[in-house]
Symmetry: C2
Subunit: 756 residues, 2 copies
């Protein structure tokens, strides 16, 4: 009884929002943006940070499940991630409607059409004209399947399916089958689970339990194990073989079959409870509007002026939407330990999301960010290290640094309450002092002992280059928190250690007109021009290392490179805590400007990946913020739009999207530090409704295609001459007005952004 009261209360609140939202901003979310090409975003329905993410699976090798037409659909599974690269994860508890005999598992179909909006997915299959509509609650998905008149109504439930299956038994980054089970409970209920290990983060086994409910009685079924069919067995227990079931609901009765699928990471009964609590009815539209009403208050925390173009509104709100798809709120669904703290999974991965996703969540919904940080600290307490690439309840992958440090420092400098920062400092220090041993790829810092001994990670340790750079920044983050908590010795120690990147700075090295690069060095201190690498596939036994080289997959494996997913040109700009020293080392302001210009003009800049996220803003530090703005506008205009191809790189759980959303407002955070860089916005008026009740408005007066430069700025009416603003100033509320002009001005050229 208690449970139902809660649900009704919730619906009451939802209606309240619906009524008040005359022109809801969630209508501007287009889940298809970034779905094609490299974006790889999840296109199905999802609640904010939603655990259940149903979507079609188009082949077994898609990261998000979905691929564009005319690709086939193998079925609809309930758990996905958004925007990821590498080997796919999840794709569990697949269902598939069909018409025909209960004699084969493969019911692959082709889509005749497809319609997607926030919280809603619809497709009609070409061959059998079956229409499938999907929406979802937090922990239970809802399917409305409409069969053609006189067609027989069949459905497959396949807990043996998962994405990223490889014929190779222990294929790296492939998901591996562990077990599955299916059990027909009554003529309208089915339970079971799927147990899978591996995937991109090489995680331990995770189990996805389900409880499916139909609104029509099962007329006939067969169960299936290991490819064999059993007409008279209502269950197939887990014997390490794939199980599934095919159901017929007959030809008679209504053409519409509704299916609710409760999901849980604890048990089938918990999945049943999830569906009962969240969807105690059979109304598809009620589920859909409840979902929309969860998004609306979050998205509308930031309001754009009404004259904003449809395209910009779509790009912006879809950016916010993508940012809030991950990490995933699994509070109450943790099979590893019980407590009252929030539990989040799918940090996928922090290397991608620390830069702009976490800061954007903090700006929109800081209570959520507090929960996320607390979940990270809980993971540290129970699993030993904070997560970096956690998924399926297992820390499993690091790409470079221990970037949880940035997330913690960002929360700290932005004064987020409700976090035990003393514990957080311990967690950071664990990363910085205790080598993860055999688990260098899983958590903590690989190459830590060498880093501490030599001041850099020597070549031959995988990803030595970006690890050195990331560790330096992570050490700065530790110094930040240590200072704030009053640990002066720690502060001094880590502040010094934060200079470690300089130990790989090869100052006399020239390339493409720039001088000084982060370059590989061996443990004996020798710079390496020619590199011997045992796993070289083509050019043996050495290859020439240069700042523009793309090492993988030509010379070494993806994980064995010096610089992960980028080269020295890109990473030699990536010193977010000490740009002034970087400028000095690069030869001073003029040389640094030239270097940036070469970088962007010669297409050395890679818009598709995170290491260069801050680089377009670096002109700020040489007193030329208008050049930053020029670059940013050029980058966005050339690479981002509101089409399915509208994201130029893997969205990586919202990383790319949050970068865009910040820049459209004219703000860009330097994550881990308490300020935002200011640039010419894309929106004339942006209003942020802060959680503290204040509003902060950014207005660009006289902005048009010609007037794209900031002439002057005023904060609450007073002249504001810095091209950066403190987080605290935003939190106080008020208005920042930019007066726009057709040519660059001296605004923001004298008081440079903070340095180390």
């Amino acid at each position: 009884m208690k449970i139902y009261t809660k649900a009704i209360l919730f619906l009451g609140i939802s209606s309240f929002f619906t009524i008040n939202a005359q022109n809801p901003v969630h209508n501007y979310v287009d889940p298809m943006i970034g779905s094609e090409g490299v974006g790889r975003v999840f296109i199905g329905p999802s609640c904010p940070y939603g655990m259940v993410k149903p979507s079609p699976d188009c082949t077994v090798n898609s990261n998000s499940g979905w691929l564009p037409l005319p690709k086939e659909v193998t079925g609809f599974s309930q758990i996905h991630v958004s925007g990821t690269g590498g080997g796919p994860k999840y794709g569990n508890i697949q269902i598939m409607p069909f018409s025909g005999a209960l004699d084969k598992l493969d019911q692959t179909s082709y889509r005749a059409e497809e319609n997607v909006k926030l919280g809603y997915y619809e497709t009609v299959f070409k061959e059998n004209q079956i229409k499938t509509e999907i929406t979802t609650a937090e922990k239970a998905s809802f399917y409305r399947i409409t069969y053609p008149k006189n067609a027989s109504k069949e459905l497959k439930i396949d807990p043996g399916f998962f994405l990223g299956e490889s014929p190779e038994p222990e294929g790296r980054e492939a998901q591996q089958f562990v077990g599955s089970q299916i059990e027909i409970v009554s003529d309208h209920e089915v339970r079971g689970y799927s147990r899978i290990r591996g995937g991109w983060n090489n995680g331990r086994a995770y189990t996805v339990y389900f409880w499916a409910v139909f609104d029509q009685p099962i007329a006939k079924y067969v169960t299936c194990k290991d490819g064999k069919f059993y007409a008279n067995q209502s269950s197939q227990f887990d014997s390490g073989k794939k199980t599934a079931a095919l159901f017929s609901f007959g030809k008679d009765g209504k053409q519409e079959l509704n299916v609710k699928i409760g999901i849980s990471f604890l048990s089938e009964l918990k999945a049943k409870n999830n569906v009962e609590v969240e969807i105690p009815h059979w109304n598809f539209n009620t589920v859909l509007s409840a979902l929309q009403n969860k998004w609306e208050p979050l998205l509308s925390r930031i309001k754009l002026s009404s004259d904003t173009s449809e395209e910009y509104k779509k790009m912006f709100y879809t950016g916010l939407y993508h940012t809030m798809l991950a990490p995933v709120d699994r509070t109450g669904e943790n099979p590893l330990w019980t407590n009252d703290e929030p539990y989040y999974d799918d940090f996928y991965c922090i290397w991608d999301t620390f830069r702009s996703s976490s800061p954007l969540i903090t700006l929109i919904d800081s209570k959520r960010e507090v929960e996320i940080v607390n979940a990270m600290l809980n993971i540290y307490k129970r699993d030993g290290y904070m997560p970096e690439g956690r998924s399926g309840n297992d820390n499993g992958r690091t790409q470079g640094g221990s970037n949880a440090e940035v997330v913690v420092a960002d929360a700290f400098v932005k004064n987020l309450k409700g976090i035990d920062y003393e514990l957080a400092l311990k967690a950071m220090l664990k990363d910085a002092t205790v080598p993860p041993g055999g688990n260098e790829e899983k958590e903590g810092r690989g190459g830590l002992m060498e880093y501490l001994r030599l001041g850099y990670v020597p070549y031959n340790v995988p990803r030595a280059g970006n690890m050195t750079i990331d560790f330096s920044y992570n050490d700065y983050n530790i110094a930040t928190v240590a200072k704030g908590l009053g640990y002066t010795d720690l502060y001094n120690q880590y502040m010094k250690q934060a200079d470690s990147w300089q130990n790989l700075w090869r100052s006399d090295y020239e390339n493409n007109g720039a001088k000084g690069f982060i370059m590989p060095k061996d443990a004996a201190g020798n710079w390496l021009d020619d590199i011997v690498f045992g796993e070289s596939k083509i050019q043996k036994p050495t290859f020439k290392y240069t700042p523009v080289i793309i090492e993988s997959p030509w010379y070494v494996c993806h994980w064995c490179v010096f610089f992960y997913e980028a080269n020295s040109w890109e990473y030699s700009f990536s010193i977010p805590h000490d740009v002034p020293e970087l400028v000095r080392k690069s030869g001073g302001n003029e040389a640094f400007q030239k270097r940036l210009d070469i970088f962007f003009d010669s297409k050395l800049y890679n818009v598709a990946n995170e290491p260069s996220f801050l680089t377009p803003c670096l002109y700020h530090w040489i007193g030329k913020p208008y050049l930053s703005s020029d670059r940013i506008h050029e980058i966005i205009q050339n690479n981002f739009n509101a089409t399915p191809n509208g994201l130029p790189g893997n969205d990586d759980s919202g990383a790319m999207s949050s970068w865009l959303a910040f820049h459209m407002m004219g703000l860009y955070p330097n994550a881990g530090q308490p300020y935002y860089l200011l640039n010419a916005p894309f929106i004339k008026e942006t209003t942020v409704q802060l959680e503290n009740g204040n509003n902060f408005k950014i207005t660009a007066k006289n902005m048009n295609a010609k007037n794209k430069y900031i002439k002057a700025a005023f904060l609450n009416g007073k002249p504001y001459n810095k091209a950066w603003i403190m987080h605290d100033d935003i939190m106080k509320g008020g208005e920042l007005v930019f007066e726009m002009d057709s040519k660059p001005s001296t605004w923001g050229t004298t008081i440079l952004p903070p340095k180390k």
Copy 2:
């Protein structure tokens, strides 16, 4: 149908054994030996290496569940371990018969009597006169509960119960509740699970699923969650709270209630399948005799002459029995990965069992040992390291070295087939080269980097002393396998590294009349007399370290000591690969003999723990095997017997018991090396039926209380003058005859046992 055929076939085979065993040796197994005092053996029914081990739980703090009368019984749970120390593990899926209202969970009762034999447990409760009898199959237990006439028949099933619960939320070595669930399936079936983490090995969460079946219909029930009762809810899902159910079977009908409980680590349906496959009937005695018939052929691999005393037969066969209780065969029950290889759990722990348990399993049942080693290699492949203290599907604890190396080397030198020794060498080298990082207590070698850099583990690294000694021996094990596989460089490297113990040998240190001890040294190379330790509870800030000191719990925590569970006197004898060098360092034969005499005569020898297992045999290396025999006979006579107090220390999964069994035969292995030391046996004729079809017989002619010395020995009729024998010589079959005499002879005094 297929399943039933198998079961019938199996029963057929069982009957065959029963018929042929006129005087079955399993009757000599007394599960009560070692149950009281420090032995802590599991006293309930178990198949060999059996997954299910039902037993009464007498308080929540017993390691084996059981405690002697008059302690209360809280219930009977299905999973236990045997002989362990530290925080308890398991104790899952507890049931408890009672008579009365379904209104309270606590149904604690007192035993009026108790009867235990192999495979059988029986007790009658004092207050309510309910009789409970238990037997078990491999994966399903069987309860026959007899209620008094006219009593109402009630039963509790409590998946919320577990052993080792602590009021402290994250108590070290305490088990922690994660979740549980219960669900009444029909009027005679109940399903559910218990999910628990922690325990002695600090393991990740494990889940024990059950499917219980009754032979009488449930008349009434209440379910329970978090202390509240629900009369109308047939299930309680997992919401992170403890769940249970109380059942009434009424007053009418038969007084006997039979309960089968299938157990699985995969799922409830798998548990159901386990009970269906293993116990497809309601005959208690059939289950019991099937169990006995599994033990009989294993136990009878070693036959004792008929004139052996009842007490010796009991001590010996119970020793074999204890040795085969662990590790536990969980093939087909691994929730972490699927393959066709065997899967074993509860290596609890190898530090205890490598010395005599593994060698005894190899002698009795080498195919089993091959499976166990392959399971260890599989764990290495999937989890990164071979196990040391694995339980609940998680490597979780090391006490000293990476002793899996000894197990592998022992299999290698004894020529066990069906093991990929190249893979095994890789697994060993992982231990020896890759520090386990933050997981020093979990797997691999803690303090490895220091060990490799300094040649010893310096003080301040926990357990530095015994780690140095164990690593030295483990390195010798690696050298052994490397040599056998033809890796000469590796062999040379590890053979040299096997001398590392010498770096902690403080040659001028004198204590109690002996000179030279393994003593603590800091990283700078200074010997430490006075030790500063921050966690000192009583004597701060320093304490004097001496070879007789017991550091824990007086000065430092149990895990922070220099020598784990022993002192320098004990560990300074523990160099199993280089006794001749130890003798030399101790001042030569005479000084060494004196040292051994002081050790035993001054009660410095600790019979209760494993580090001194080999020490009584060390007289062999100074050419006085009769002194070894004297010590061994004295130790056994004074400390071992056939009573519940018959084991002088924690049996540790059969370690203590296998030490006894070997010595009773006159053999003692030096695990990891291909020979056994020979001593005066306790048994006149022992015949080992080897798996290769050969028999090996050890005969002690003219042995009596006076004639306790070996005058001469003959192997297959030829004089045999060595006090040690190669494993190969045993495998060839034949007879070793000792001629006994009343005084020591020169036998075995000239050809000393092998050296490094």
